[in-house]
């Protein structure tokens, strides 16, 4: 059986594709408009939510190849407000892992994208809520101010998330810096690698690979799939997480440029 020339095959594909039975296109304009008009009031409502920062864990699915962390599987790593649980690989990352704390675990929604989390605000408002000046990275030199700022918190802790987007591409995150102040936060998920490193000579953790990140209260939860690399370090009472696609050396350079 001889194949038709690729040009004829292309024409056939074009004809088939042109007859695809799409469902009816919904009317989106009004819904988009409503969402845009409600953004400011929504931010105020969300800012009033008393987030209690609770359990977060990090389940390691891949192998801890270089250099191995000191804790064994099933033990805790702790750095500042972040707790990391080294666990057995989880076959299905959408399944909920056992809660590492006695706190009743809230129902988990499907993972959220970082830009979908609640509490969007301005840098000035985030600084006021956080109670101290928020340091910004001076490296890379073209980074500038963050494009999106989120602030969440309650009586037990507070977090601020700063997001820098790729120029002209609002769906592409260049990097995000998370500032956490609280007693009992954690990460949870699947990663391929974690190792110890240093920021300004102090202990830091470096996590590579997909994992779930949870920030939960008694009633609600944020659950995100982190796809980049994460550098975790502390300065005073604040724990920092830097999410990016940067290699370790570059991430440390960003961390050490905070001013």
């Amino acid at each position: 059986m001889s194949q038709p020339p690729l040009e004829l095959w292309e024409s056939q594909v074009r004809i088939w594709a042109g007859a695809f039975p799409y469902p009816p296109t919904p009317e989106l304009a009004a819904a988009v408009s409503r969402r845009l008009q409600s953004r400011a009031p929504a931010r105020r409502r969300l800012a009033r939510l008393a987030w209690a920062l609770a359990a977060v864990a990090l389940l390691l699915a891949g192998m801890l190849s270089v250099p191995p962390v000191r804790a064994a599987l099933g033990e805790w790593l702790r750095l500042g407000a972040v707790r990391i649980l080294l666990g057995e690989p989880t076959p299905d990352p959408t399944l909920k892992a056992p809660s590492p704390t006695a706190t009743p675990s809230p129902t988990m929604a499907a993972p959220e994208a970082l830009l979908d989390i609640a509490g969007e605000t301005s840098l000035e408002a985030a600084q006021r809520a956080f109670g101290s000046s928020i340091p910004l990275p001076a490296y890379p030199p073209d980074l500038g101010l963050p494009d999106r700022i989120f602030s969440q918190g309650g009586s037990l802790g507070r977090s601020v998330v700063l997001v820098w987007l790729e120029a002209g591409h609002p769906e592409d995150i260049r990097l995000s810096l998370h500032l956490l102040r609280g007693e009992d936060m954690a990460l949870k998920g699947m990663v391929s690698l974690v190792r110890e490193t240093a920021v300004h000579g102090a202990r830091a953790l470096w996590v590579e690979g997909e994992h779930f990140y949870e920030l939960t209260s008694g009633e609600m939860a944020i659950r995100r799939l982190v796809e980049g690399n994460v550098l975790i370090w502390t300065a005073g009472e604040v724990t920092f997480r830097l999410e990016s696609g940067l290699p370790l050396e570059q991430a440390v350079r960003v961390a050490e440029s905070l001013e």
């Binding site: 594909v13 039975p21 845009l36 994208a113 002209g168």
Partner: protein, 203 residues
């Protein structure tokens, strides 16, 4: 500040650059007009990626919200549609990857049950052309992501090479070579796994 103005007629011919300028100045009615002008392409792209009409509607809506918020950084000398499709494609890709919806949709459609897809399709599936198109779509799902995306843009959404390049953020020459390779791989999948469709192409 986003303001909604009631006096913009939906029947006005799409004057994209003017409406983009108005939308940037906070004119919500201008953005609504742009949404109406592009919602079909954006929704269809999301549907092709996700295989679920409700999910596709959510992604399309989110794409228009994000695009509006980033409109100040959009290069108005370029067409809007590829930029919107790029936003929607990334959102759909993230959604199916994060939640496993994509594999669930694949499993559903792999059951070869037309009713599992969506109700509106059922009557049209009796049309042989629509049935072939759906088989083509299933075969497309077997390809790697980059191949799926370029075939979707070029043949399902009928974008030009230049528009596809902008939507995929690659050079026009890359679109041409990627399309060529993807068509070859698609043909191989159809000949191997969809023999009925392959025979149809020889008729």
């Amino acid at each position: 500040m986003y303001k909604w103005r009631k006096d913009l007629s939906g029947e006005e011919k799409l004057n994209e650059s003017q409406w983009i300028g108005d939308a940037r100045r906070g004119d919500g009615a201008a953005w609504e007009a742009l949404v109406r002008g592009h919602q079909e392409s954006v929704f269809r792209l999301a549907f092709l990626f996700l295989g679920d009409a409700d999910e596709a509607a959510d992604v399309a809506q989110e794409a228009f919200v994000r695009a509006y918020l980033a409109l100040g950084r959009f290069d108005a000398s370029r067409p809007l549609r590829p930029w919107l499709l790029r936003i929607a494609a990334n959102l759909a890709r993230n959604r199916r990857r994060a939640a496993g919806r994509y594999s669930a949709a694949l499993q559903r459609t792999a059951r070869a049950d037309p009713e599992a897809m969506h109700g509106a399709t059922q009557s049209r599936l009796e049309d042989g052309r629509a049935a072939n198109a759906e088989l083509l779509w299933r075969a497309l799902r077997r390809l790697r992501r980059a191949d799926q995306e370029v075939i979707t843009m070029r043949y399902f959404l009928e974008l030009s090479e230049a528009e596809t390049a902008q939507a995929l953020k690659v050079a026009a020459g890359t679109v041409k070579s990627r399309t060529h390779r993807a068509l070859r791989r698609l043909r191989a999948v159809i000949e191997r796994e969809f023999p009925d469709l392959a025979r149809g192409s020889e008729a």
